[in-house]
């Protein structure tokens, strides 16, 4: 690595720039198009600027009940987020010591991550269908279905978010200095105190990251939900349904809104992470400050 930027740097930088443009360009196009005037169509050019299509989304005219789907997705996302954080952190802690079935659980998590979504989804659908059949046969007359947003839907989302959470925890603890805990223990801290006052503050920024993954992955999840969600739809499912039927920019408006929520969450999480890291730097080390 010489001091001067080589020619390949500029070539690669240009390539990177093109990649970023490729990533963001189309998205930006639909954000702009969602402000299409009332007579505008699905493509450029813009016919004036308006908020008509956003109004359409909120009033619910023309398309399905978006408000309800929005709320459902939000609730599910939050539940998935909390569960992902709690389970990933505890599993992450457990994996630091070897326990029976550790390797097996690890491979299951990886398998769950890379399993084609449709298969998982189909499996969960079958599982609940058979469960329903069984319950009906054993005499429950009014039973309809156990399938729903917070049973099969939640499970489907967790098979997707938990592996990510677990992998992030692995990454954290591979760089974690175990001597810090020993020090705490030597000073007489209980296991809970050690976790609460030593381990948690150090890993907190990454835990926020896990939460971010948990929420956004659930918020946008589509393939796994498709068969396993029961009778009601989440927002991405509604969106997918709309792609084939809608010919007006209201679908872009909806897309802009959905992405807006994603960006809000990402932004909030990043701010929290940065704040936490800044705090760590301030309080982290008193090396070189002499005895207090």
């Amino acid at each position: 690595m010489g001091e001067k930027r080589s020619r390949s740097f500029y070539v690669l930088a240009a390539f990177f720039g093109a990649y970023v443009l490729f990533l963001y360009g189309p998205m930006i196009a639909i954000y702009i198009l969602s402000f299409q005037g009332p007579d505008g169509g699905l493509t450029f050019p813009m016919n004036g600027v308006s908020l008509v299509w956003f109004g359409k989304v909120f009033s619910g005219s023309g398309i399905v009940d978006i408000g309800a789907a929005f709320k459902r997705s939000l609730e599910l996302g939050l539940v998935v987020m909390v569960l992902t954080v709690v389970l990933s952190v505890s599993a992450g802690m457990a994996f630091r010591k070897s326990f029976r079935g550790a390797t097996f659980l690890f491979y299951v998590a990886i398998a769950s991550l890379i399993m084609p979504s449709i298969i998982t989804s189909l499996g969960i659908a079958l599982e609940f269908r058979l469960l329903d059949d069984f319950i009906i046969k054993s005499g429950a007359d009014n039973w309809t279905t156990a399938m729903g947003l917070f049973t099969s839907g939640l499970g489907a989302h967790l098979t997707w978010t938990l592996p990510f959470g677990l992998l992030i925890m692995f990454a954290i603890f591979n760089r974690f200095d175990g001597r810090l805990e020993e020090a705490a223990r030597d000073l007489g801290a209980t296991p809970w105190q050690t976790f609460r006052h030593v381990v948690l503050p150090i890993i907190l920024p990454s835990v926020v990251g896990i939460g971010l993954f948990g929420f956004t992955l659930s918020w946008d999840e589509l393939a796994r939900s498709s068969q396993a969600i029961g009778s009601v739809n989440t927002l991405p499912l509604e969106l997918q349904g709309l792609t084939t039927t809608v010919t007006k920019p209201d679908i872009y408006a909806l897309g802009t809104l959905t992405s807006g929520v994603s960006f809000l969450v990402i932004f909030a999480a990043l701010v929290v992470i940065l704040a936490l890291q800044a705090r760590q730097r301030r309080h982290g080390s008193d090396a070189g400050k002499g005895m207090v």
Binding site: M1, I110, G123, L162, Q240
Partner: protein, 277 residues
Amino acid sequence: MMLIFTLFFLLPLLFVTIVSAWDYNEYEMIPAFSLRGYTDTFEGCIAGLPDLCTILKTYLKTLKLCLLTWSLTLLIGFTVAYFLAFHVRSKTWQIVLTLLCTIPFWTSNVIRMIAWIPLLGRNGLVNKGLEGIGLIQQPVEWLLFSEFSVVLALVHLFTFFMVVPIFNSMIRIDKRLIEAAYDAGATGWQTLVNIIIPLAKPGIVIGSIFVITIVMGDFVTVGVMGGEQIASAGKIIETRLSALQFPAAAANAVILLGITILIISSLTRIVDIRKEL
């Protein structure tokens, strides 16, 4: 955690396997052993030889899409990761640029697919632009709702899965090795081929596993970007499901699963995933 994976992952897989060997009629599944799910899938395959039957054609097409997407994501992902790992010098910039690549991953896939429509459609920007500079007289039809748009969208969506593991491998390469190579008189290209690529191999393999499994099972992208006209392995399952032919869907799932496991196990022979974290 184990409980959740058992309930929502292992048991479902088991049920898929069991149900794939059940009988079925027009509206329900019958818990009796039958290979109808499989035989129906391959219906007419032997009679129709030497012409390929629909199912084989579909799988071949899925493999083709998969291969195309894989090579493109690998090429783009490797270049992007290489740039991030070796040419961006300050840590802050590395984080900022990595985040820049990650943020779209946290937003909705469907929206990122829809986003191509105003660009590629018949009256989209690309067609208008090409007409504007006089390259074409008629709008190009194959831009949207075609294999082209499917691969484009897949590359767009999933290059991220290549960038991250490859970047992760590259960042751990000892910079002194590269200097040593440079001092020993290796050209940039020789360093790339003989040092960086072998050392980044674990990342490449992990990224490949992600991309291949996602594309093999994908039905959403193929559905939306293919205008519901292109068949793929995942799409077959979905179609069977909407016809409520659960055993047939399950049989297809088992076949897909088999192919996927085959690909993964041959790839994992090359690296041990757990060591790479």
